[in-house]
């Protein structure tokens, strides 16, 4: 579709603009080492590229900047896979040498390190524990009819919730109930703790236990707590403020407001089934607020099943190649670390 020369020009324009944030002029390009062309020739090519929609011109006497379509073409055709530099790799490897069971800390650290490395804003979506299996359920009475229900998964995740039991339930019934629940549910993956299983169990429990409503309540609360357990970590929010395109408070504000809402952040980074790194440029994100932003994200997996994701938000004028490589690498290492954790290797 584009001639090799046009590709080269587009490529250099993107890379120059990403670095300088200034529109790139024909003279700048003609001085570039990879050309021995005059500025006039390049001007003609640029005019063509603009007509094809790959370049924009802020105003008549300015240089060119890549359009959304231009960035898209660059990402799709003009970047290579390649290796990360050693320093970055080391920083990331360090990150995952930590104890993987302290998930909160790992996720938080990841967001901190990634935003340092990239100078953009980082989002880490903590792992869904849907895939994990029930190891044990506990119910600890607190006095009154209150109790704490605790669920531990085989990966060692602990989820808990306070419940209000029937007023008159005797201690031995509570014990019996917990016993039955464990007997019946140990080994069950959490994602099956949904409505289907609920009904199946209801009848069975009802025939054995007197306080079966309490048992169901406990299950229900635990299921809710478990499904709400995915946490969102945002790091390097203030990096946005260093970007020249966001020097204006009115431009940053809507963005920061979005980043303040974990639900929204989670939605933007919602799991994509496909493997690999996903790049959404400008309006491809589907939100007007993000029209001058690019979101790059990657999921990480446990034993092949996606459980969470990491993402970077920055201006469309983003250092694509580097960020893609970093996220690719991070998600791979993270997947491996999480999988090892689960399969019980030390």
């Amino acid at each position: 579709m584009l001639t090799p020369r046009q590709q080269l020009i587009l490529s250099v324009i993107v890379e120059d603009y990403v670095q300088s944030a200034e529109p790139v002029g024909s003279r700048t390009l003609s001085k570039h080492e990879r050309f021995h062309l005059s500025s006039a020739t390049i001007r003609n090519e640029m005019a063509d590229l603009e007509e094809l929609g790959f370049l924009d011109q802020p105003h008549a006497s300015a240089g060119r900047i890549p359009s959304q379509k231009g960035y898209r073409y660059y990402v799709d055709h003009l970047t290579s896979e390649g290796r990360l530099d050693g320093e970055t790799v080391l920083a990331l490897q360090d990150l995952f040498r930590q104890r993987m069971d302290e998930w909160e800390r790992v996720a938080h650290q990841t967001s901190v390190v990634l935003s340092q490395l990239t100078q953009y804003t980082t989002i880490v979506l903590g792992p869904h524990i849907h895939q994990e299996r029930i190891k044990q359920i506990q119910l600890i009475p607190l006095g009154g009819a209150k109790a704490v229900a605790i669920l531990v998964t085989d990966a060692g995740q602990v989820t808990s919730r306070q419940v209000q039991l029937s007023d008159d339930i005797p201690a031995e019934h509570v014990a019996g109930m917990v016993h039955l629940l464990n007997q019946r549910l140990t080994g069950t993956p959490l994602f099956r703790l949904g409505s289907r299983m609920y009904k199946e169990l209801a009848s069975e429990i009802g025939s054995v236990l007197e306080h079966y409503e309490d048992a169901l309540l406990v299950l229900d609360e635990l299921a809710k707590a478990a499904s709400a357990s995915q946490r969102v970590f945002v790091g390097g929010t203030t990096n946005i403020l260093s970007q020249p395109e966001f020097r204006d408070v009115d431009k940053v504000k809507p963005l920061l407001e979005m980043l303040e809402q974990p639900d929204w952040v989670a939605a933007v980074l919602s799991l994509q089934p496909k493997a690999g790194v996903k790049v959404r440029i400008g309006l491809e994100n589907g939100l007007p607020t993000l029209q001058s932003c690019t979101v790059i994200s990657a999921t990480y997996r446990v034993a092949g099943v996606p459980v969470g994701s990491v993402g970077i938000i920055g201006p469309t004028r983003m250092h694509y190649e580097r960020v893609i490589r970093i996220l690719d690498y991070t998600s791979q290492v993270l997947s491996r670390a999480m999988t090892e954790r689960l399969s019980g290797k030390k």
Copy 2:
């Protein structure tokens, strides 16, 4: 120290400036309903107030704005206790009608509501659980020598941590260990789980259990986890961006960077022993970054013991009276709610 008329003038200047964010001139004041003085008279008074250090003048031909000292005088002598308006009271009461056992949600909601009500940035420091007592300790083996240690307090807080036990420890020893720990520690307040108790227990446990290092490790980890459990919630960060004094990205950035670090936020709001609302204006905060900010904070208590705090960060040009009243009220209601929760009332 100040004549009644000077007080009145200072008062009106503060209130006018807080609302308009524009330096207040003598003419504006002379038109104010509470005066029947000419602008010239007021000019003389203002010149005096400036000389005394209560007012500043941005430049020679501008009106006056309150100095840090001026705000301090205003807060100390010119505000009254008074009542909150009904709407605000309702919004706050709503907040604490929630289930108090879901602390994370309450704290988060508090920060959201307070920042909506005040249009400033809100910080909520989650409760220390030092005062709570151990209800039960659990140790759930995960396979390998890994296990999850869980601690439940009498208030129903659950804290957990993964631990690595000795490789060769038999299941019945684990059970015995947990039994002993519970027998020995149930009812102990968490703050005693520190080093002193550690030593006391060490000898006792050592004489009974074979794997006493494991028991101590478990205790140690739980103590660490419990003391790290105080969480920080920051809400309405972007409200800062609406303040005219922070229209400039370079001015907001350092502030937002600070707010991004929970440790720092916690430090700024660190517990003050005295009751009531604390107001720190500008440099009183001790940090150059906060020189044009005011931090107002209040602690909340459980049964009289301070366990956490709520705070508001805004420009020194702050709506003092209102914010003080809101925080005063919030901390009281919160204290009551938390205390009731603990004493087991439903």
